[in-house]
Amino acid sequence: MAAGGAGRWFLLPGLAFLFTIDLIPLVYSAWVSFYNWWLIRPRDVRFVGLDNYVRLGVDPEFNRAVVVTTLFTAGAVALEFLAGLGLALLFAQPFRFLRPIRVLLLLPLFVVPVVGATMWRVIFHPEVGVLNHYLTTFGLGHPPWLSDPTWALVSITLVDAWRTIPFMFLVIYAGLEVLPAELFEAAAVDGASAWQSFRHITVPLLTYIMLLAVLIRGMDAFREFDIIFVLTGGGPGTATQTIQILNYRAFGLGHMGQANAIGIVTLVLVAVMCFVLMRAILRPRGAAQA
């Protein structure tokens, strides 16, 4: 009892740290979002209540940004999850040169996002880009990667996938490595096919790991900024204008109330996304157990 009581005190430094770096700025940010505060007018800071939020709600540009952000997040996370899972399953089988290939696969993870995006901007370049050069050589045309609204959304999704598939792979692969081998051996003895083993052993045992990976990536993709900013700046038009691009613009122009309101809305949307995702994935499992 005494030990348990003392143990709680050990939480204190961690809680104090979290309180300082998370909670205080968050509350301050929420507080600022209730103000009309434009940095170029330092003597005209006014409390406006929920005005900044109401404006966002009726702003067609913001509503479109929510749609674009959702499309990008869903597309990127789905692609990354499927590719990461596929690679993890592939690498779970022993083969020659597994270790060096595994290291190579992880390289994009270590590239600074801005540097990676700048590199891709050159690769996608219509005149001097290497991608269209080879596509044209093989008669596959020269897609307008960054200049067509649909292609631009596809391009930023692909670059995000390039950078973060290794993360998905790493998490799922780590999960696969610790699955008990005897279950698969027993299933093999009972005549289960590879698909049946995957469907009825791997997937249920990896659900939490996969959920964790999807949640982390989902939160990350929803807040993605660097890649989109460097590759398209939100264009063409508003085709890739996400919530974070709008937030950057509002901060850059010194609209602190509006920018903080966008930040708080992002937080709420990410929380809702996580809640919905967890309910959707965990409910069937809970119901089955019941």
Binding site: L39, I40, R41, P42, E61, F124, H125, P126, E127, V128, P144, W145, L146, S147, D148, P149, A152, T232, G233, G234, G235, P236, G237, T238, A239, R249, F251, G252, L253, G254
Partner: protein, 410 residues
């Protein structure tokens, strides 16, 4: 003995209030600078300034897209910059935080400055910045191609359209003109340039006024011009316009003068020496857009005298001449001084020096409003929507005006 000591202390006190040059010895000032683009030129000459004055200059460089944001945040929060390299449209929005320089300007040889460049540093009758690097849009054309076809460089938008059409041959990867049509700010400025020429204004009588007959005509010409551009101009930025010329793909371009220098670099440009320069086309008037880079001093700077010394050096003839000679492939700083721009050495190095000076003398400034940064951002976003096909021209002009009026509280 005590009397001597008293006079010595008195003399020191008096000399410190007078602040002669040597009093700045050992001082350090922090400069907010544009990264890469002009930074190289500055850094090459900086040791000379530091040696001469004893003032150490700490350079904090940021790319163009971040520079205004960083300066705004720093100035409005009592930040660390003493002196700031600023694009002229930012002076009105940031004037609240800048040191008025009217008195100090009297010590400069103002007759040597192109008058419009001095005006670029002023807002509502107060001088907040000294011109350093005058930029203006120019028409760049391939002299060799024009000679082959027996054409003269266009002087009107109609002639420009006709020339662009004449040179446009996508099957040979030869395009009429290189401009941007992306969400980049340059796109909005190209459209504004055309609209200005037809007599339109972004803001008139305190209200957004692009949705006019002149606005529509200028907008139509801009959209028509996009038919003769390289493919993928919807992802172009400033550097891509340069690339299209350097690779010999475009017969013409409208580009800021600072972009012309790399076009003349033989190591990077296949058309160096084959380019001609002219004033941007006119319709009812000729309105080359002004974009002067200036140097301003933070109002809360503790090193205002040292900062002023730096500002005068940077806008001076000596630095201007050094910048002309700097063998840069990507950077260019042009002097705002007649004595440098008219110099034979400058003309030999910069084939566009005459056109730059002629353009500067008739150049048009963007609206001088404290809200201008927001107005230009609204223009940028909406012009991007227009070129992406999200809006018709009429809807875009209406949306720009509505945004401008909202920003101005009308």
């Amino acid at each position: 003995m005590r009397t001597k000591a008293f006079f010595l202390v008195l003399a020191l006190m008096l000399s410190s209030t007078a602040s002669p040059a040597w009093a700045q010895q050992g001082k350090s000032i922090t400069l907010s600078m544009l990264a890469g683009y002009k930074e190289d030129v500055l850094r090459a000459s900086l040791p000379e300034f530091e040696k001469k004055t004893g003032i150490k200059v700490v350079v904090d460089a940021s790319p163009f897209g971040d520079l205004y944001k960083k300066q705004l945040l720093s100035l409005s929060t009592g930040g660390r910059y003493d002196v700031l390299f600023m694009d002229e449209p930012w002076i009105a929005p940031l004037s609240e935080f800048l040191l008025p320089l009217n008195e100090r300007m009297k010590s400069l040889d103002l007759a040597d400055f192109v008058p419009t460049t001095v005006a670029s540093g002023a807002f509502q009758g107060t001088q907040y910045a000294v011109p350093v690097d005058p930029n203006v849009q120019l028409l760049v054309y391939r002299k060799d191609l024009f000679e082959q076809k027996g054409l003269k460089p266009p002087t009107t938008w109609d002639e420009l359209l006709a020339a662009a059409k004449a040179f446009h041959d996508p099957s040979k990867q030869q395009y009429g003109i290189a401009i941007t049509a992306s969400s980049d700010i340059q796109t909005a400025l190209y459209m504004l340039l055309a609209i200005w020429s037809y007599g339109g204004e972004l803001v008139d009588n305190g209200r957004g006024s692009l949705n006019s007959a002149a606005g529509k005509k200028g907008g139509e010409v801009f959209l028509e011009l996009l038919k003769f551009t390289p493919p993928n101009v919807k992802s172009y930025n400033f550097a891509d316009v340069n690339k299209a010329i350097q690779l010999g793909q475009a017969a013409m371009a409208i580009q800021w003068a600072s972009g012309a220098r790399p076009m003349e670099d033989k190591t990077r440009s296949s058309v160096a020496g084959k380019l001609g320069y002219a004033l941007v086309p006119k319709a009812v008037r000729q309105t080359p857009m002004r974009g002067v880079w200036t140097i301003a001093i933070a109002k809360n700077s503790a090193n205002q005298d040292a900062a002023w010394q730096f500002a005068t050096w940077l806008s001076g003839k000596e630095f201007g001449q050094a910048a002309v000679k700097f063998p840069s492939a990507t950077s260019a700083i042009h002097s705002p001084r007649f004595s440098v721009l008219k110099d034979a050495g400058t003309k030999a190095t910069l084939p566009y020096a005459d056109t730059l000076l002629a353009s500067l003398q008739i150049t048009k400034e963007r609206p001088r409003l404290r809200e201008y940064a927001d107005i230009q951002e609204n223009l940028r976003v909406t012009a991007g929507k227009l070129t992406a096909g999200e809006l018709t021209l009429e809807a875009a002009l209406k949306e720009i005006d509505a945004g401008t009026n909202r920003i101005l509280g009308k």
